[in-house]
Amino acid sequence: MAIDRFTGENSILFIRSEQLFDWARRRSLWYMAFGIACCAIEGLMHASGPRFDFDRHGVFFRASPRQSDVMIVAGTVNHKMAETVKRLYDQMPEPKWVIAMGACASTGGPFREYPNVVMGVDKVVPVDVYIPGCPPRPESVQYAFLRLMDKIAENTEERLAARRDSDS
């Protein structure tokens, strides 16, 4: 039916608007000002500083988890901290993403042998992008954000394609 092109889930309008919202989400990733350890100096402080200035990409920090889209886990997560990380993640509204910054957040890093340390934040919250390095340079974090933008776009396209396939 011709009218189907304009109503329903796979209508042009719907898909276009979904792509539009996807574009908006990609381009306005506000991260939570939540530095745990050493990486916070590089990934949060210097990242917002004059040389790297993530604000150029629309990547900006908010203090409250309710208003942020991305959580940068910048540092070692131990058993005492893990609960807080999980709670903060739960407090963020969907859609949300997590960047595990540095070796500590990815695997436990140099402290992985210590029984009190969680071996990677992915044991607590789902991680979208891992950044290697101890600590990663701000450029790496910038690249991680660009990769995250690609990932969001790919996910949307895949979702739309899957829906088209199932429909036809």
Partner: protein
């Protein structure tokens, strides 16, 4: 700097402390080893003496394999002298707080007690400082860290 060992010995004698061993061989400085029951009195006596060890630089433990050595690192600002007081504690025994003499000991005592599995007495806030309650006393030699195997299969 290193204080005069004989002066410290006579000072302790005057304060009524018996059985204190002084040595400066192979140690970080002049080390006074005293009985567990006397630790508080020694620290207080050293502070009130004319050497005036008023500054607690640090308080920590060493697991020697037989017992836990609690080290009080004291400093006299007036005379510019440093002194280490070592007290042997049995595993799981009681660590008497010296916070009334040195408020600086408040947090290091909490940390030492939890890290070496000691109980803390006379402390206003004897909670764990660094670890969650229920964790093993990490700095004891008997507590193992994760093996390479565990780390690999994380």
């Amino acid at each position: 700097m290193l204080p005069d060992a004989t002066a410290i010995a006579s000072l302790l004698e005057r304060a009524g402390i018996v059985g204190a061993e002084l040595s400066s061989e192979g140690g970080p400085g002049l080390v006074v080893r005293v009985e567990r029951a006397q630790a508080g009195a020694v620290v207080q006596g050293l502070k009130d003496s004319d050497h005036a060890f008023v500054f607690l630089v640090d308080l920590f433990g060493i697991d020697t394999g037989e017992h836990v050595d609690i080290v009080y690192h004291l400093r006299s600002i007036a005379r510019d002298e440093e002194l280490f007081v070592k007290v042997a504690h049995e595993y799981g025994s009681d660590l008497a707080s010296v916070w009334e003499t040195h408020p600086a000991a408040l947090m290091p005592e909490r940390e030492t007690a939890e890290m070496f599995g000691l109980t803390l007495s006379g402390h206003p806030n004897p909670k764990h400082l660094l670890l969650t309650s229920g964790s093993a006393p990490m700095l004891l030699k008997s507590v193992e860290i994760r093996t390479a195997e565990e780390v690999r299969n994380r």
